[in-house]
Symmetry: C2
Subunit: 486 residues, 2 copies
Amino acid sequence: MLDKILEEYRRIWALNYASSLLGWDLETYMPEDDSQLRGEAIANISTVVRELTLSLADKLDKVRDEDLDDFGRGIVRVLRRSVRFYRAVPREITEELDRLASQSAVVWREARRRSDFKSFEPYLRRIVELEKEVADRLGYEGHPYDALVDLYEEGMTVSELDSLFNVLVPGLKKLLDRVIEDEYFPPTHPLEEQEYERSYMEKVNGELLKLLDIPQGSFRMDVSAHPFTVRISSKDVRITTRYEGRDFRATMFSVIHESGHALYELMIDPVYEMTPVGSGVSTGVHESQSRFWENVVGRSREFVRVVYPILKERLPFLRDYSEESVYKYFNVVRPSLIRVDSDELTYNFHIALRYEVEKGLIGGKLEVSELPTVWEDFMDKYLGVRPKNHAEGVLQDIHWSQGSFGYFPTYTLGNVISATLWSKLDGFSQKVEEWRVEEIKNFLRERVCKYGALYPPKLLLNKTLGEAYNPERLIQYLSHKFIDRD
Amino acid sequence: MLDKILEEYRRIWALNYASSLLGWDLETYMPEDDSQLRGEAIANISTVVRELTLSLADKLDKVRDEDLDDFGRGIVRVLRRSVRFYRAVPREITEELDRLASQSAVVWREARRRSDFKSFEPYLRRIVELEKEVADRLGYEGHPYDALVDLYEEGMTVSELDSLFNVLVPGLKKLLDRVIEDEYFPPTHPLEEQEYERSYMEKVNGELLKLLDIPQGSFRMDVSAHPFTVRISSKDVRITTRYEGRDFRATMFSVIHESGHALYELMIDPVYEMTPVGSGVSTGVHESQSRFWENVVGRSREFVRVVYPILKERLPFLRDYSEESVYKYFNVVRPSLIRVDSDELTYNFHIALRYEVEKGLIGGKLEVSELPTVWEDFMDKYLGVRPKNHAEGVLQDIHWSQGSFGYFPTYTLGNVISATLWSKLDGFSQKVEEWRVEEIKNFLRERVCKYGALYPPKLLLNKTLGEAYNPERLIQYLSHKFIDRD
């Protein structure tokens, strides 16, 4: 039965493969006039995927779990999740959400430009209504938001997220206050204003890929408006970056971040290719890999030692900056308004806010109209900054216009897991400083990557790390880095 | 009923759209290690297309043709052709052909490198067997080859091709002999050896695209090992070229040739998008557009007048060559061994040979083992050249390794139709010389392009040109150009 299921699954696999390429191309090389037809094509392929998945339902119902090994159980678990989603949420709802998402993206962009929350409000209200309906149809035990966050992080709940943020927010607040008092990590750095030549940074980024030793025959890097990673197959993983021409950290860390996502996909056991467990298990675990490489490795003092000579060779203006200064540039600490520009210490406050907002909206405790006030008060209370307008406040992220409710918390889950990985990696400092990159990669492969989606994320983390989603780990890691500084 | 068919067809459209992009990416940006999985993905998508097409069969059977207008009849005709193919040719055969094609491509490449026909022979023999079976299953009235050529040129038959080549071959032979005697068009030209800087030719090619006024928002050009055109949608048509670094005609005319294919797709009436009649009607008609732009326009004296100043500005070495000399460079006439390097006068001999071989193999009158001898004798007889080895003889083309039997004749059909178009375009010389490109494009749009696949090719050509596949037109055009020279 499982063989038959896997055989039929190959069509779904092929359609997902194609959709991934369509999405990549949309952001990189597609002629602009094709955008509407591209949307049509992607939507129609989704419909076929839905139908092919539902056509597996009977076979999946008949599978006797006790006959299965881990591989079989993983396959059945992932497919049943899809079937459950398609059974619960009718095409009409996902289609309305898709249509709304593409309209809202335009409205949101314009609203942000004009800093005008009112024009976006009715769209957001309708999206929240639909997301609530999705949650109701999917069902939940505790909180309706559970149903949504589970779509990104299998098994995650409001109850667990509440416990996590209840530890994290006060803990990080204390840390942040001390770090600011210490004044070792500066709130600004002259390199933030320094312009660079694109061709130089292209070379630096090429060197970073070499450092990470990404298999070149299965990988490529291109340019897009917003950096992203896409897995097309285990032999075709692509990242993008962008060149803003100023503040070279941005492109550099986007490359390391996306490479982290890419390495996850590239290190999944190739025997899972063309099966439902062949890609990363959850958004949070995925983010743990990108954050591990970007922050834990990339912004470490040891990595700066490795990368400084490379940077100095390629970027003439670095002659005026010491290794120590570059380390501080990579680790400016400054409570600020924009999530994507924030540092390791303040980042999770941005997420805590968004989590509270999403939980409130989906749970019916918060109205869309109250959002700006909630936003401003939170920023003021925790980071001591107040948005002057909606563009640098509630309108800054694209996620809600896309109906991605439940996504934001996984950024913090990723940070927490990346810190847990750090705590479990013996000889981290030495491995980074001597750049024994294969050892670091092997550690991640064995603890996370190779399993693909074989086990649900929490089970996986408990199995391989002995714990999952432990907020103390993030506090420990950040204390070690920003307070102890050893 | 038709609405329902069209609605369901959108899924097939989306899968074809995706397959086109997968194919394009395979030749341009795909990381090399993914090639096997790419093959799997494409094959699986083909399977879904087959099933979705067959699922339309009942509805198509029920459609009453007398209720339909031209649009409806076109839709039903094209879909019924697909259904007929899938019903007649079981998956096992197409899958074996696909597998064999990917193996044979490797074997053929190696065989060509070593000029070793024997190692390719067993593969070719099996491919011919399978092609014969396809022909038998599809059925035919006259000759089994009819069934195969119809897959590329709907309605074309051996009987019609025989008549055509029986006029063309002796007519062209007479012409060729006179042109060689005349000595106006040289057999070689020093520019064939001239090296160029790639960046210069990239600029020239950019200028060519501007000259052709291709809508930039729906088009792109990339680099691949072999130039090709792909239509992804009416708003996304892509061509490729390559830069060999020597003999700049090659990249220049590949760009014009592929742009001709691209313009065809871009000029199809956009109301046909997402329907079965939304792309070019046949391989021969498609080739008429590429050849019209490449040869009839691009190698004309008038076009040289237009393009010479552009070339001279970009290519420093052209200072030593007059406009007249460049015209001769574009029109070197030299009986030679390799089809793809041959000129307008000798090209169709290469096709006539391949047509005779394919007809013989499929009709059972010729054995694969006899191929080299037949090949060498034909070349000797018509072009007075004899291959010294199989690499420059029977092994030169990839087509047969891919099972593309029936394709070759459409190159000559394209030449014939392009000459017919030339004969019907009033004021051709003036339009080209004054570069009234929109008038030329409008002519092609009205006579060919806008219809998409609405009518079968022969009906279309008779409707809009008053004649179809008339070999005399090609002889007239070539006489005018190479003998009259006015």
